[in-house]
């Protein structure tokens, strides 16, 4: 494989800067990735040349913007291999995608006593919306537990699923542990019992090949800003059969068919779920981010990031007192760790001063922190533009600051 890292980095001029007098090493990609010039230029082009509100007016500007907006829908559809373009709903992020399904699916299908199975490693955004709507409908959340290595105990699933189970919500890739969960297997198990599965794919789509049809996922959500696109754009994929049965999530313009003061009929999907003016600029620029991923090849990106993961893991393990959380055999480029006797906040603060951007804290996954009985971790997460030299410098900095803090 020839992976042209220099060309890749040239798309991201933001990486060529110094922070606190040291070259920036950006390892907080699981929180948000940087945007390439292609995306920035698409944003600017729209704003400068043909901005108009979509789907509404019959004039040149609006028509052109509408065309590009709908092209983005096709790009997304092809990228995750959805069967129909109508199954792609644009939201403002993964969190909104989850809230949409929790509220709308919940409204239609949850009854008192219903159960939703949620894994123990979820980001709060794939737990709290289910809790809120379970509470509203008198339903219950059932925990799918994890093991010490940070893997889902999927073997327990057949026992956890009951006649009351209405849905299973699970992350494709853990934002803390990097574990790639066996979602295809989970979905197969669930479908045998006629239970649909919601997959939070925010940490998966930029890093591994995702095919919603071969997974047979009922719902799949992700965010543009974690895959080199703009913030404020998310996707909800849902099987047509579910989306058509679900009531609208929000009311407003665009989502209606006919409105009188007595009664409103709603648009077809996807528009039924796209009330109001969306993030037109962000969605149109999202096409460019997907194009970059597509043209580079997600398998090439995955191979590059796996090599970074292997290289970093090996060097981190050699550091005295360092523990890595999440040692599943199948991981994406996310490493959470602590060093014995040092608070993760101190490590993160000092690494920042050394020019290394990592995330510290509980990563919005308190149940997982409770499982390991820790206040938080330091998390380094890689993207297609990171290099081994950056990892070398990160390790050097980490050893230095650990010594200062010991």
């Amino acid at each position: 494989m020839k992976y042209d890292i220099q060309k890749m980095r040239s798309y991201f001029p933001v990486l060529k800067q110094e922070v606190y007098g040291r070259p920036l090493i950006y390892f907080d990609n699981a929180a948000s990735t940087q945007k390439p010039v292609q995306v920035l230029m698409a944003q600017e082009r729209l704003q400068n040349d043909y901005y108009g509100n979509i789907h509404r007016a019959a004039h040149y500007m609006a028509d052109k913007a509408t065309g590009d907006f709908e092209t983005a829908r096709d790009e997304v559809k092809n990228f995750i291999n959805a069967e129909n373009r109508e199954e792609i709903i644009f939201t403002k992020g993964t969190t909104e995608s989850i809230n949409l399904v929790a509220a709308s699916f919940g409204e239609q299908f949850l009854t008192p006593g219903s159960e939703i199975i949620v894994s123990e490693m979820e980001h709060h955004s794939n737990l709290v919306p289910w809790q809120i709507n379970a509470l509203r409908k008198g339903a219950k959340i059932v925990k799918l537990p994890i093991s010490e290595s940070g893997e889902l105990q999927t073997g327990l699933l057949p026992e956890l699923i009951s006649s009351k189970t209405k849905l299973i919500a699970v992350a494709h890739v853990s934002n803390v542990l990097g574990t790639v969960n066996p979602v295809a297997q989970i979905i197969e198990t669930a479908h045998k019992r006629d239970v649909p599965v919601f997959v939070d794919g925010a940490q998966a789509v930029p890093h591994i090949q995702v095919d919603v049809q071969s997974l047979d996922a009922d719902f799949y959500a992700f965010s543009a800003h974690k895959m080199y696109g703009s913030n404020g754009v998310g996707v909800l994929y849902g099987k047509r059969k579910w989306l058509e049965q679900m009531p609208p999530y929000q009311g407003g313009g665009e989502m209606i068919s006919e409105v009188s003061f007595e009664k409103t009929t709603f648009s077809e999907i996807p528009y039924k779920f796209e009330a109001g003016t969306p993030n037109i600029t962000g969605v149109i620029a999202f096409s460019e981010a997907i194009k970059l991923l597509r043209e580079t090849g997600i398998d090439n990106i995955a191979a590059w990031e796996q090599e970074l993961l292997r290289y970093a893991t090996e060097q981190l393990k050699a550091i005295d007192g360092l523990r890595i959380y999440g040692e599943a055999p199948h991981k994406s480029g996310v490493i959470s760790f602590n060093i014995a006797g040092i608070h993760p906040f101190d490590l993160g603060t000092m690494l920042d001063k050394a020019g290394v951007a990592v995330r510290t804290g509980h990563h919005c996954a308190d149940p997982l922190m409770n499982f390991y009985n820790i206040p938080g971790t330091v998390r380094a997460s890689f993207a297609l533009y990171n290099t081994k030299e950056e990892i070398d410098n990160f390790i050097k900095a980490l050893k230095k600051v650990a010594q200062m803090l010991a």
């Binding site: 007098g21 040092i342 608070h343 993760p344 101190d346 603060t349 001063k353 509980h362 206040p375 200062m404």
Partner: protein, 147 residues
Amino acid sequence: MTIEEVQQEIIEEFSVYQDWMDKYAYLIELGNELKPLDPKDKNDQHLIKGCQSRVWLVAEKENAVIHFRGESDAVIVKGLVALLLRVVSGRTPKEIMDNDLHFIDDLGLKQHLSPTRANGLLAMVKQIRLYAVAYDRLEKQGGTING
């Protein structure tokens, strides 16, 4: 020395460090030197819950002044606590109420005070002020408070 003079003194001390790593090395040193709280004082009543690190603050009034003690589970925050205590401990409620704690900003450590960063330090500064206001009121009414 007045509160303002102590703040100036701290700013002076830090001014010798040009490199950020050195500034923080000094903070870590101060954190390590901070006298630990009695374990029994590290209770929920004294806990100022932050997002990433925990901070405990104890206030006791003796004669006209308030004595503060504090600690954190993160050493950098402990260093910041040490600086704060140096400025406000042993001061009258009025002195604390009348002075702006600008030194943290001047040292370029303001990121630790942003509400989203939420490491308990902003909450600690607020709590110090609240104690000052509360003791000031009580002084005027002749009561006591259990800090």
